[in-house]
């Protein structure tokens, strides 16, 4: 039986997708959260001076998506064969494309540039990636509701995480209205008992 320790800041950020996977898997793990002020003294303990890091069986794994994929596979949430896993990966990568744009806007310090970047994000990047995700959900998920049809995978959990991040940024939830399959997916995933319980009990953080 493996022992899992997940190290991150006290927030959702790049660790939340892995926390959601653990929740859906019903797997206990040590959810270690460092405040920003504590981080400098722990930085050198991490392989690349970055978080999240997953410590498992004496090994420290960096890189958020590698961590998430490793945990998803362990608990059969990555797809049942190579082709399903590739479909899941292509949904993850599409979410990651959106995440990259999200990060650029979120971390922009100049207020004016940030406003411009936010507008570009809402007018161009967000609709483009949501359409891409709706396409993949249609192509792979058939009658859905999950990206792989009847089987929930970490692709659905990453999408849930992304929707929350976008909501935090654009301060509204209505961006899913034009994408009926994505909206249904989002509703269904949140209703899953272990996910619903996790969302209710997790620490509430600004990011």
């Amino acid at each position: 039986m493996s022992n899992y320790k997940l190290y991150y800041f006290n927030g959702r950020g790049r660790a939340e997708v892995t926390r959601l996977i653990f929740a859906q898997a019903g797997q206990k793990f040590e959810d270690i959260r460092w405040e920003h002020s504590e981080w400098p003294q722990h930085k050198a303990e991490t392989p690349l001076g970055q978080m999240p890091v997953l410590e498992v069986d004496g090994t420290k794994l960096p890189q958020s998506l590698s961590i998430a994929r490793f945990v998803a596979k362990k608990f059969n949430l990555a797809g049942r064969d190579n082709l399903e896993q590739a479909k899941v990966d292509s949904v993850i990568d599409t979410n990651a494309d959106l995440l990259q744009k999200f990060v650029t806007v979120s971390f922009e310090k100049d207020e004016q540039k940030k406003q411009q970047a936010l507008e570009t994000f809402q007018q161009e990047d967000l609709p483009k990636q949501l359409q891409n995700l709706e396409t993949l959900l249609t192509n792979y998920g058939q009658t859905g509701p999950y990206f792989l049809g009847a089987n929930l995978t970490w692709a659905d959990l990453m999408f849930l995480d992304m929707v929350e991040k976008v909501q935090d940024l654009v301060k509204t939830q209505n961006f899913l209205d034009k994408y009926p399959k994505l909206k249904r997916n989002h509703d269904e995933v949140q209703k899953q008992p272990k996910i619903a319980a996790y969302l209710k009990s997790r620490p509430q953080t600004p990011f």
Partner: protein, 177 residues
């Protein structure tokens, strides 16, 4: 299948996300370059021999992709003077930490061998080879003090099927990675 830029618009709508590369396999059109690469690597035993090795391969890939995400927009910049200015900042300010991260992962995963993970060639050796090639063409000293990364490159190039492919592939003319 290689499309010239002027051909691409007529094929764009055939692709799931209006993007390439796409791999057509078992009746499915698979988008997203890394999803494609991982799929093929797994199929052909180039992804690592167990869960942990596979995670380590993914970590190396993610690390080189982080580098590519910073480099690619600069490389694709059409405005020549803007491109020159961005390159002049990228090489001394941004690139070193990515190369250092790769070197750190080598020390953690390579087990004293000449490949990134598990003493055998995996897709992360190929992806690192591929991305660094763009950088080395601009500045041949990019790997200056990282002798292992040099040796890894040489080892990849020596693999018979890779050597043959590098010799025979079409000459690259694109302006994107």
């Amino acid at each position: 299948m290689r499309y010239e830029r002027n051909e691409w618009p007529s094929y764009k709508s055939e692709m799931p996300l209006g993007q390439i590369p796409v791999l057509k396999v078992d009746g499915v059109k698979l988008p997203q370059s890394m999803a494609i690469a991982r799929f093929l690597a797994k199929r052909f035993g180039l992804w690592g021999k167990d869960d942990l090795q596979q995670a380590n391969v993914d970590t190396v890939v993610d690390t080189i992709v982080n580098l590519m995400n910073k480099f690619s927009p600069i490389y694709a910049e059409q405005d020549e003077s803007k491109k020159k200015a961005e390159m002049a900042k990228f090489f001394p300010n941004e690139l070193p930490k990515h190369v250092r991260n790769l070197d750190t992962l080598v020390k953690l995963y390579s087990d004293g061998g000449l490949f990134f993970v598990g003493n055998h060639l995996t897709c992360c050796d190929l992806e690192v080879y591929n991305i660094l090639e763009y950088l080395l063409q601009i500045d041949e000293n990019v790997l200056y003090s990282y002798s292992w990364l040099h040796k890894n490159r040489e080892e990849v190039e020596k693999q018979p099927k890779i050597a043959s492919y590098l010799k025979n592939r079409p000459a690259r003319r694109s302006t994107t990675c």
